[in-house]
């Protein structure tokens, strides 16, 4: 076995040792023990893998997922007796009726204007109500070109940490009859929504170039300005995550 062949196999070795009995793994491990260069490579590889795995283990499911799974399963799962087609079970029928009512309410709610006297209040309420993106792309240049075609304001520059976010898309939004833009980013499953309004469009004046932070219910937000625009970023990732963007 050459060292390159050994590396290919050892690349798949996990620190728990559960793969030690994998074919050829024992041979490759022995080779790593006897070859200092290969051994050093293997040690670095394992350390890197352990570091990534540790970070991955830090990711926790969002609150409520467990309860949603269990509640959903109780409505449709094997414990329901006598067994009937799931769509004829009383729970599902009741849920269907509830959904119909909720859809009616949602239709009404979607037609109602989003409230908010200031840009940040409006932005939080807009995100809270839910919306659809009009342009999907991970390419910020493409998003900017699209917003430009819609004659909407563009971010001149974003704080450095925004470069760590992945663009999702954008859309146009109307605020008090003014044309503003919304660009959405994502990181680690959490979304960050950036509203941009031209400064002359927002008379209440978000005058500070330094970010101002605020919390509204489950949302954290920050507002700031540059030479041309007022910005508001809204996220449900928590205030710490928003502050880390600046």
């Amino acid at each position: 076995m050459t060292n390159n062949e050994a590396k290919f196999i050892l690349n798949a070795y996990r620190p728990s040792g559960r793969d030690a009995d994998f074919p050829a793994m024992a041979t490759a491990l022995a080779q790593a023990r006897n070859d200092p260069a290969l051994g050093a490579w293997f040690a670095r590889e394992q350390a890197h893998g352990a570091a990534v795995a540790a970070k991955l283990r830090e990711i926790a499911p969002p609150a409520g997922l467990r309860e949603a799974i269990l509640t959903g399963a109780r409505m449709s799962g094997p414990a329901a007796a006598p067994r009937r087609a799931w769509w004829t079970q009383p729970g599902w029928l009741a849920m269907a009726a509830s959904v119909a009512v909720l859809l009616s309410l949602a239709a009404w709610w979607r037609l109602a204007p989003v409230r908010g006297g200031t840009l940040e209040e409006f932005a939080v309420n807009f995100v809270d109500r839910g919306f659809r993106l009009q342009k999907h792309s991970a390419d910020v240049g493409e998003l900017k070109a699209w917003l430009n075609e819609q004659h909407r304001p563009l971010p001149e520059a974003l704080p450095a940490k925004f470069a760590e976010l992945r663009a999702l898309g954008c859309r146009t939004v109307d605020f008090q009859g003014r044309e503003i833009s919304l660009t959405c980013f994502e990181r680690g499953g959490k979304e960050f929504h950036v509203f941009v309004a031209r400064r002359d469009f927002v008379p209440d004046g978000l005058e500070s170039a330094a970010p101002r932070f605020l919390e509204r219910g489950k949302f954290a937000a920050a507002t700031w300005t540059d030479a041309k625009n007022n910005y508001v970023v809204v996220s449900d990732a928590g205030m710490d995550a928003v502050k880390r963007l600046f």
């Binding site: 991955l56 499911p61 799974i69 799962g77 520059a157 450095a160 990181r187 959490k190």
Partner: protein, 183 residues
Amino acid sequence: MSNEAFTQLVDAHYTPLYRFALSLARREADACDLVQQTFYIWATKGEALREASKAKAWLFTTLYREFLRGRRRDARATSLEDLPPGEQDIAAEEVDRVAKMDAATVVAALQSVEEIFRAPLTLFYLEDLSYLEIAEALEVPIGTVMSRLSRGKTQLRAALAREEQAGRSKVVPFDGAAERKPA
């Protein structure tokens, strides 16, 4: 399966399933949907699937299939000729780089790895499945899993380096077309 047993099953597996789903789907809401859908299928498929010893592998396999089913097939299917080179040596400072990053940044880097490599790579780091189980879940030979793992690691290291570089710059221009001058 009793409610109690089902609860135990959920408690044992929903966290690693969520991490796997998040790496695939990239968005929290989509990841939650995938996990819920997976347990929903378990709860409604009947007694035939209820081999406790195989539950974990079944759940990961089902989640992956639901992910594939739910998204459009990428038209830019990666051919073997397109695969990037693997087997690049790792530098010692790369370990420190990961240790200093926060978890969300590392996950974001993992999410940027091409999907064909991302699924085996995430399952590798989660350590919930054996290679045989990973191969079955992805429906590829074990040798292919190892090959994709090698190339996935190369992509991940490049992505981690990009994340670190991005964190260093002070102000990031919003690249793209020039802004239209307002009338």
